[in-house]
Symmetry: C2
DNA sequence: CCAAAAGTGTTAGGGGTACACCCATGT
DNA sequence: ACATGGGTGTACCCCTAACACTTTTGG
């Protein structure tokens, strides 16, 4: 939880708008320059980074709330969004930070505010196309920006642990989720897809074997060659064949990775 | 949510004791007579079955709440308990049922009761040793009893879907969780372990290959033979070697199943 | 002796891994 | 021509699946 205040509740009666005691935090993954990145917000009050989060409207599905919060920071709708864990430790403490954050937008919190009670937060991870995202900071944030997963800045609260947990879940579900489909543009070279798998798995894969494996399942369609201007063979571009891809995911690709 | 009312809240001020709007439901798996079973409660008010559930104390860790709720129904502490999903649809509707349930213990709910608002519920699954459980119904229930996973009675709310979801999660995590260790007594024949894997996976496994595979990793220790009195060769009993077993699980047994 | 289940062995096939090799491209 | 990276081929190894055979037990 942290930054999704639309409609902006006044601190005293936010519980008229939102489910009390529950928040959502989104771990939004993008892929750029052969690196896996996460979209983060930087707090105005103390320059620390945090996950884009928010609350659930009184009569809103949990998934819909996560999608609304994601849309507010990225502008994107209809993206792949997956719940992965609930963080419910009683010692999750955001009180001091919340006070400071809300002061920057001129809101004073009293000790009995609905925001000052203990919260549990539901973690969602999203896979989005980096190029389509227009990061939008909220009122309490300096910036909204991509940060490399392998070199994260220091994070507020337990947000560092939440990202680690998201990555681990992503790894476990790798063969059941449309990883590349969401992270890549429509057409892409195999090398990019391989780089994504390598970034998520955290280890190198053999190029030759990767190509054979991924092509063997018939989920990709070969398009034209792509001339980058580099001094080597131009790679073919590929696109996912939606019909076979989603059918294949139902049974998992575990035989392939 | 449903049946864990200790300390019993009065309907008006339960939110003084509990986190509002969040509940827990436990899917408790046991193994008996070659069958996977789930521990359920039968409501006094309408004879329908449901999952044992409850609420989270104001300053209680989520995991601790799930453990407390499990202990109230089974008498067991220190068991394997794993969060698997949050059910957060806005249309999860328990209002009518809650009214009826609480009437059976003489509590009248008003429309503005904390219990009458929308709840999201966190699903946990537990693996327990069937023989150690002493099922304990709560005040609103006729009985607390084991039901076979493959032949469940009709369930209240979305509890049927929750059990299905728990099973699916269990399948996915099969190679990372100490399945047999929690479901079986200290010593057991390989056949029992195989039956558990078959029940969870929903398909038959080859006996010969299963034995070779499971033994190849050195997580089992052979004990004495067990004479059942049946007219065939007496099987060896085995016990988990805790040292190697838990080390092996960290990396997963995926090469083995 | 027989039936049933445990224990052990064997074989064929497939897929993963680790390479080697050739091809296309722009400098 | 050459360096770079793409595309393709291959051989070895291990695992899996399927099934056969032997051993033990009580009827």
């Amino acid at each position: 939880m942290s930054s999704e205040f639309y409609p902006l509740p006044d601190a005293a009666n936010g519980s008229d708008y939102f489910l009390p005691a529950v928040s959502i935090d989104n771990v939004i993954f993008g892929f750029h320059q052969h690196e896996l990145k996460v979209l983060l917000l930087q707090a105005r009050s103390n320059q620390r980074w945090m996950l884009p989060g928010g609350f659930i409207l009184r009569e809103e599905d949990l998934d819909a709330a996560a999608a609304r919060i994601l849309k507010a920071r990225t502008g994107l709708g209809n993206v792949f969004l997956q719940q992965f864990y609930v963080f419910g430790s009683a010692s999750r403490n955001r009180k001091q930070h919340l006070k400071e954050v809300l002061q920057t937008i001129g809101v004073e919190l009293t000790a009995d505010s609905w925001l000052m009670q203990r919260f549990i937060t539901v973690g969602y991870y999203a896979l989005v196309n980096y190029e389509q995202v227009i990061p939008q900071p909220d009122e309490t944030s300096l910036t909204c920006a991509w940060q490399p997963v392998n070199n994260l800045p220091e994070l507020l609260f337990d947000h560092g642990a939440i990202i680690g947990n998201a990555l681990q879940s992503l790894r476990l579900q790798l063969n059941y989720q449309p990883i590349g489909y969401n992270l890549l543009p429509k057409e892409f070279p195999l090398k990019s897809l391989q780089a994504i798998y390598e970034a998520i798995l955290g280890r190198r894969l053999d190029r030759s074997n990767f190509n054979r494996k991924i092509l063997s399942y018939g989920i990709l369609e070969r398009k034209d060659k792509h001339f980058t201007g580099a001094a080597h063979k131009a790679p073919f571009l590929y696109a996912f064949r939606e019909d076979t891809y989603f059918k294949a995911l139902e049974n998992g690709l575990e035989k392939y990775f």
